[in-house]
Every structure is written in C-alpha cells, then in structure tokens.
C-alpha cells in the first residue's frame, strides 16, 4: 500500500484543511543500464542511482516528524520508493513501502488528488526524486521506464508540466511541487519526434489555482546532483529552508511561505555549489503566496570566506556566538558553508602566516536566509 500515514483511508480527515502529500523516489530502473531487467531499446545513457532511495524517505520523514502548520496540519502521506523497502518513519512506524512503477504512481496520484480536492483550503504537496528528462516539457521517469515490452516507450513517463497545469482542476488552492531530477535532453530524446508523457490529469481554461509553486532542482540542460548514498543537495536545501532558513518573522512566528522558500532555496543552492564545486542551481516558479510551515526558530546558511583564493588559503576563520565556535584552519576548504542559528555572530579572520594585514574580530548580524561574507582583506 502506498499510504504510509495514517494507517487507513478511513482515518484521513477530509472535512478540515489538511496537507496531503505524494512523495516518489526512484533509484532502481530495471530497464536502464546496469538494471536487472531486460534492457530498454534505447537506455539514453541512464543508469542506476542511489540518492532517491534516501531522499524520498527523508522528505516523507520531515513531513511526518517536523511539519508544523496549525492552520493546515498533515493529512496524509503517499510514499513510493524504488526499490521497495521496509522503512521506519516518524508516526508511521516500520512498514513496507511499495516501488514506483508507472501504474502505482498513477494510482497513488489519483488517490492523492482526490484527497486534495475535497477542500479549497487544503495544501497539495508533491515531491519527485529520480531520473528526469526534458524536451518540450519536463518528464519524470518511474521505475519501469524503457520497458522493451511497451510499444510506445514514452507511455511510461510522466509529463510533469502537463500535470502541474492539469492540477488547476484540483480544488486545493495551495499546490507545492518539488522536482528533484535532471532536465537534460540526451541525444536519443533530441532525435525523437513526438515525445509525450502522461500528464495524469488535465484542466481547462476555466480552472484556476490560487497558489501554485514549483521548485525545480536544476535548470534546463543541467543535472541535479546528490552524494552517493545520501540525500540530494536540493533536498538538503529544501529541508534546511523549511527548518528555518526560509523563515520570516510574522508576529513572532517563523513562517515559511512560497515566496520566502523560492528566494531562499536558490541562495542556499548557490552556496552549496561553492562548497561542493558543482553546478547546482534551483529554478523556482512561484505564482501566488501560500503559507507552508512554521519553523521553530530562524536559521541562516552562512558562507564565510575571504575575497580572494590566496587569502582563503592563508586564512584561519573563526565564527562564534556564545558557546558555539566554528573554526576553519588555513588550507581547509573555504568558504565555510554551514547552517547556523540566526543572530549576532563574531567573525574573526586571522592570517597566522602574516600574508595579509591583521583584522580585529567583527560583529555581524546573521539574518535568514543566507549570509555571505566577509569583505576581508
């Protein structure tokens, strides 16, 4: 069963505003390179990956354990992960999670959409992590993409842009989409005419949605990345932002909304790109303002380094606030990129070798989302 929480369909609250989630992570692709099943007629250079099997549970886990929106609490979580596995999640306990074949994704989608459409003050939450392609639209690939037994090989892929447009026909007025997949066009797709996927749902001109926010892990022609056997960088950025980096103080509460999330993820990804030396980007497409989550406290993604490589190599940088001290010795990777509490921090840049003039420690106000500094030397 793809519903991981609550325990049964009957237990789902539909007469009050709720956030209903559909989270899909595909790491195993039997018909692509290195897969266990019959090879696709054109595998497009795609092979097995591992980060989605960690990313999807991490997102589902956050929703179940940390999501906090008093006006719209968590209502349900559909989760599909390939390969199928036994997972332990907050609130849901240990349970088997099914794999994300196209048929299951479609069925899950239909159930999810039906729950979302019960009330206009519901929030629809969709997260996909796995292989992605782009031609005229963004395509998301479920587990059985490329099955040589399917005559039309594009039948087994999801037309995400079509789906997002189609979701206008869903009554939920706040819709959040996270696309954690590449948007490349391999030669096999470029050379192909008539690339169409299944949008899963359609809408007409008379349908509308108040707030539709899509956050793409990358931009056209680029790749999304994740560390082997870890959560993708995009997911790390999303979770960081939800947990306070994208927080705005609204009457003493730290609110993450669609506007603040869009601005923050992009800035966090830029800093992660510097830290991991990868071409990470995020492409937010937000229309309409909707409140997502209330974070416990404000957090800041601090990126602290000097203004030249030479100074970075020679510098010892120390950030401190109260008992918390973060240090980076000369020669260690700079800028220091770390998520910290917001507030007043002391930043001390020293050059033990004397290569640059000494500076006294300075106080800096670190406010969400990102702090980039320092103008030294």
């Amino acid at each position: 069963m793809s519903l991981v929480w609550p325990a049964s369909e009957a237990a789902i609250v539909t007469n009050q505003p709720r956030l209903h989630a559909l989270v899909v992570g595909v790491a195993d692709y039997p018909h692509l390179n290195g897969g266990a099943g019959p090879l696709a007629l054109d595998p497009l250079g795609l092979s097995q990956i591992s980060t989605p099997r960690h990313t999807a549970p991490a997102i589902a886990g956050w929703l179940l354990g940390a999501y906090n929106n008093p006006a719209c609490p968590l209502g349900s979580v559909e989760l599909l992960v390939s390969p199928a596995a036994q997972l332990t999640l907050p609130k849901a306990g240990t349970r088997p999670v099914e794999s994300a074949t196209r048929a299951r994704v479609k069925a899950s989608f239909n159930r999810w959409q039906a729950r979302c459409t019960t009330r206009s003050d519901n929030i629809a939450f969709f997260y996909f992590c796995g292989h992605g392609l782009e031609k005229s639209a963004q395509f998301l690939l479920p587990e059985d993409f490329g099955d040589p037994a399917t005559p039309n090989r594009w039948e087994n892929c999801i037309d995400f842009d079509g789906m997002r447009t189609g979701m206008r026909s869903c009554a939920a007025d706040t819709q959040l989409f996270f696309v954690d997949a590449c948007r490349e066009t391999p030669f096999g797709v470029l050379a192909q005419l008539n690339v169409t996927g299944d949008p899963l749902i359609t809408a007409t001109v008379t349908d509308s949605v108040n707030c539709s926010a899509a956050y793409y892990a990358t931009t056209q022609t680029r790749q999304a990345y994740g560390p082997d056997n870890g959560v993708t960088y995009f997911a790390q950025a999303v979770l960081s932002c939800l947990n306070g980096v994208a927080g705005l103080n609204k009457q003493g509460r730290w609110i993450v909304d669609t506007f603040s999330l869009g601005g923050a993820i992009g800035q966090v990804m830029t800093q992660l790109a510097r830290r991991y030396r990868l071409p990470l980007t995020c492409n937010p497409n937000v229309s309409g303002m909707g409140v997502i989550h209330e974070a416990a406290s404000p957090r800041v993604f601090a990126a602290v380094g000097c203004t030249s490589d030479a100074a970075n190599n020679a510098a010892e940088i120390v950030l401190s606030k109260g008992p918390v001290v973060i240090r980076s010795a000369p020669g260690q990777v700079k800028p220091i990129v770390q998520e910290v509490d917001a507030g007043n921090w002391s930043i001390d840049v020293r050059f033990p070798g004397g290569q640059f003039p000494a500076q006294p420690p300075q106080q800096y106000m670190l406010m969400p989302p990102v702090f980039e500094g320092v103008p030294v030397p």
Binding site: L39, A40, L44, P186, G226, D228
Partner: protein, 405 residues
C-alpha cells in the same frame, strides 16, 4: 620527457579530430610506456611532444582536382565523404549493406567486436572537437582494450538495437561507478550522447548507401564500394609524393637546414635537454621516419637517441635509392652487406604491417635494426594510419622494449 612523436604525410592540424588523435596517442603512451627501462634509464614522464611540420608540407594548387572521380561520387548521395570509408568497411565485413542498415554497429559487432569498435572509434574521433579530445581519446583507448580482451562477448547476442549495444558497451567498459562520489540524476555526462550521434550518422550513411545500391547489380555496387575505399588511398599517394619532393627539395644543408628539419630538430633537442635522467625516445611515422633518419644521421649526429621507433616508414626504401645525406653508394658490398645505423641511435625498432603499402622492412638493409611485424587488423588504407591509434600497438611495443638488451 623525452618522447618525441613525429607525424608522417597527410597530417594537417586543421582536420577534424586532430587533437583527439594526439590525445589518444598521449593516453596510450602513458598507459603502456610508463615504467619501461631503456638503456638502464626509466621512463617516467610520458607526455610526448608532437612537432608539427604539416604547414611546410606539400600544397596542391588545384586541391588535388587531378584525382579521377568518375562515377564514384554518384553513389554517394547523402553520404558524407568522411563516412564513406567506414561504410565501405561495413560492406566489406558483412558482404552487403541491406542486412546491416537497421543496426549497422551491432551487426558488425556480432561478427567481430574489435571491428565494430574500430569503426565506432573512427566515427567518434572524426567528429571530436578540440575540447573533447581528451575524453574521446580516453574512451577510445578503453574501448579498444576492452574489445581486445573480449572479442566476442556473450552479451552481444542479447542486445537487439544499436542504442542498446552502445549503452551496454559503455556500461561494460566503464564498470560500476565507484561509491562515495557524487551522482547526477540524469545521463551523467556519459559519452553516450556523442556515441549515439556518431552511430546515428553512420546508420544514415549505411541506409543511404544501401538504398542507392538497390537498383544496381551486385557486382557493380561492390566495385563502387571498393572505389570508396580507394579514393582516400589515391589521396594519400598523392600527398606522399608531394611531401617527399618538397622534403628533398627544401632540406638544405647542415648550416641551413630546411624548415621541416628545423621544427623537428628543435623538438628533439629540447626533449633531450629536458630530462637527462630519462631515455630519449623518438617515434616517427611514415615520412617522419625518413626525415628523422636524415636528421639523426646527418644534421644532428650529436644528439644521442636511446630508442628510435620507425612506424609504417620508408627508411630502407630511401636508403635503397640512396637519397639520404649519408647514403654510401658503395654499400652493399661483399665486405659491408648492410648500411650502418647511425651511431647516435642506441636502439632502433622498425614496425610495419604487410597490408600497409607504405611500410617497409629494414633489417636486410641496415644493421642494428629490429624489424617487428605488426598486424593492424584493418583495411588497406586505414592500416597506414592505424598503428599509433591502437592500444595493441603500444602493448606490443612495450613487450619489445622490455626485451631490448
């Protein structure tokens, strides 16, 4: 270090794939020559120099319009000139094109994986732009090594399309990804894109040619394909004569050596000076071998070369017609049956493929040279250029080097 690779005829640095070929040679030298010992000195730095003398070579006022073309081109239709020899190879290997037009590379691979890899590598190198050179070279080197080790792998029978074949080949060659590194959620920058495109072009070429030949009789069509193989051969012959005449005309004397000699001489002298503790190795292809022999015997006899490798070269031919500066018309004689290899060359290995019409054996003409037959296992006109782009050539060469006294 001192490895200097001197090119032969027909080499122009404006040709597509020039950089990729150099990158391939560099990669293969690195793989096979590192750690070899010559004259008690170890080879450590395998980064070669490639003195380029193509600009001083023959130029053709009418751009070789004198080559007869006749009806050869009419069969061409939509087939790119660069691809014709490859299409001809496929035709030769399989006997006809119709059966191969759906999946040409796979059909060829079912017969012989090394042949399919050779055709694929050629197509890839030809279309490699300068900044791709290293990647393409690395892939070609690994692909050749894989095909050498697995000439008929079982998996070839399980794939049914060219894209499947290519994807599987890449997976087999690159192996499983090492853990702990960053993975992209997409095609991952694999060489697949370039391969797919080269394969698609080849498939179009094969299909065009196959369909064009359909309304002609079998014999006629195969003669035309032979012509496709021959035309580049005529081209090489023309350039060969041209370059020989230009060289002989312009080589000058010791006081004023010609430009071709100067370029090569400077490269060799600089290489010699750079790492005195490592052996100086000069690898010279085709006419480059002839020029280097002249250079080392007459123009700079002071430069000590630890290992001289002539590849597909005509050194003995030139000596037979006594065209070297140091050629002695009194040799051969009863007392001296062979000409002397220059004293400043410590070891000399001469490599030739019997299929290569431009390559000559040396050990009947010179003393102190080791002849080494090498089978490029490829078609006639390709043989002359193939040696230095084959993984097997370098592994065999290394084996010879290891046996040197």
């Amino acid at each position: 270090m001192p490895i200097v690779v001197v090119h032969g005829v027909n080499t122009r640095n404006t040709e597509p794939g020039y950089k990729a070929r150099l990158a391939l040679i560099t990669s293969l030298l690195g793989t096979h020559l590192a750690g070899a010992t010559v004259n008690g000195k170890a080879v450590i730095d395998t980064q070669p120099d490639f003195p380029y003398w193509g600009d001083f070579a023959a130029s053709f006022a009418w751009d070789m319009a004198s080559l007869p073309t006749g009806q050869i081109d009419s069969l061409g239709g939509g087939v790119d000139a660069d691809l014709r020899p490859l299409v001809a190879v496929i035709h030769d290997a399989l006997g006809d094109l119709q059966s191969a037009q759906a999946q040409p590379l796979l059909t060829l691979a079912r017969k012989s994986l090394p042949q399919s890899v050779a055709v694929l590598s050629d197509a890839l190198i030809q279309s490699a732009s300068d900044h791709d050179a290293d990647r393409v070279a690395a892939f070609v080197a690994s692909a050749q090594a894989y095909a050498e080790a697995n000439p008929n792998p079982a998996w070839v029978a399980t794939v049914t399309t060219d894209p499947q074949f290519l994807n599987r080949l890449v997976t087999e060659i690159t192996g499983p990804a090492p853990s702990g590194f960053v993975q992209p959620l997409g095609a991952g920058g694999s060489i697949i894109n370039a391969l797919s495109s080269a394969a698609a072009k080849l498939k179009n070429a094969v299909t065009s040619a196959a369909n064009a030949a359909l309304d002609r009789t079998g014999d006629f069509a195969s003669t035309k394909f032979l012509a496709w193989e021959r035309r580049p051969l005529n081209g090489i012959l023309g350039r060969f004569f041209g370059d020989v005449f230009v060289y002989l005309d312009t080589r000058g004397d010791r006081v004023n050596p010609g430009q071709i000699l100067q370029v090569i001489m400077n490269a060799i002298r600089q290489a010699a000076a750079r790492k005195p503790g490592e052996p100086l190795i000069v690898i010279a292809h085709s006419l480059g071998g002839v020029i280097c022999f002249d250079l080392l015997s007459f123009y700079c006899p002071d430069v000590a070369v630890d290992l001289f490798v002539t590849v597909g070269s005509q050194v003995s031919q030139f000596e037979e017609i006594k065209r070297f500066k140091t050629s002695d018309p009194a040799i051969p004689s009863a007392r001296r049956p062979r000409a002397a290899a220059p004293g400043n060359i410590r070891h000399w290995v001469n490599v030739f493929d019997e299929v290569d019409i431009f390559a000559y054996a040396c050990d009947k003409v010179f003393d102190r040279v080791i002849d080494f037959r090498y089978d490029t296992r490829t078609y006639t006109i390709k043989a002359h250029g193939a040696y230095l782009e084959q993984d097997r050539f370098y592994s065999r060469l290394r084996a010879r080097i290891d046996q040197l006294p």
